[in-house]
Amino acid sequence: MPDPEHIAASSAQARPYWWVEAWWNARDRVVAALTELIATVALLVALGFIYFVLRLMILAGMPVDGIAFLETVDFLAFKAVLLTFSIAFVLQAILSAKNSLNAKS
């Protein structure tokens, strides 16, 4: 029975640009994931900007009680977005791995 390390080495020698090929085959998925990542960051930054504006309004002399509620709501929305996309990326990684295994078998 051939040694597994020997098989892996010979396979890598036979296909030196396997990672280019792998990326090329999955490029749509990679682009979609990157787009989602950018959208997530944009959404989080927008919510952070709202928080910043609210803090500035407090500094400018607006009553703290009314704005504290809005700040909490903004913070909750921030947490919801962060949680959703964090879990979604983990879930996508799991699904992607499962698909790869199914395709090989």
């Binding site: 749509d28 919801a80 949680l83 699904l95």
Partner: protein
Amino acid sequence: MSPAKQSRKQRAAAARVASALKAPQLPVKKDFLGDGRARFRAYLWAICMTFAYGFVNNLLLSRPENRVNEESVVVCAATLIAHVFFYYARAASANIRSRLTERLWVALQQLGQRKFTRIASVSVLASLLLVSAIPLDAVSASLVKMIQNGRLPESVAQFAIQEVAYVQSYKTRKQIAATDPAALNPVSNSHTWQGYKPTAAQGRLGIVGKGIEETKFLLGPSAEGFAYTHPMPMIFSDFTVVSLGHDPEKPIPQFLITTLGASQDVVINNVRVVGLAQDIENLTWTNDTFENCLIRYHGGPLRMANVRFFNCTFEHPPTVSGVQILMDHLSTHQGEPVNVYFP
């Protein structure tokens, strides 16, 4: 060509094509990772559910934040997993919920395809990143400090106020003595206190408040006056003195008592005096206000710039004609800023 005139082979070929068209198409294999709409729907639901859970529990029910945070993770994960599960498990049905997300998805796709939207999005994102790069806590802390303390330590701020007051009094002298060059000579040079030179550590003697509105001194009926002046550089700046009344058998309390000596290097700047008496001569007054005061003047040296009198009474010796003219002027121009120089 009518069907009757077709050959047998042609009729057979047409039947094969028709059957192929009528045959049910093979179901396409579902892929959550490749279906943008499904992912979008799942994200939307997960965000809404997590936010709603946090809102209800944290804000409405006031539950502890740590517990709500932990439970929110579970809610979010459960929502996403449920969406993935149902995506693979059940056939698509066009209910109201899916139609709504479908329309939102189409709108987002259309927006994303427009060049203007792309440029605007990139610009907004860049500016947001730029603004968010500033640490919020540091900015708010420094803003608060700047607003509250004027960014200066208290001793430095006080010294700066004194210096401003001194410059103002000097400018005042320059302005009101334009016709008399002798007024430009520092008064302290001709005085026995000429050796006195205030330093930054010492500052001038006197009282410096935080402003007319912020610093208020109230004088009770038993008080004879607010402060004594001396024949040396002094500063009284940025406060209000209000009399709460006085004993009718005693004289009206004085704001600054000059019996120990006075000097035109005693600068009273940005002070509001209410209901007190004051001998105004031999002092330098800048940006001050007198309300319901008794003002005494006996013809001595006087320097005033931007001083206002409201409802004041003026007391002066009847024999000095120049003083008479000045007092008449002050009493008839109450409320107006007055600049006076009497050497």
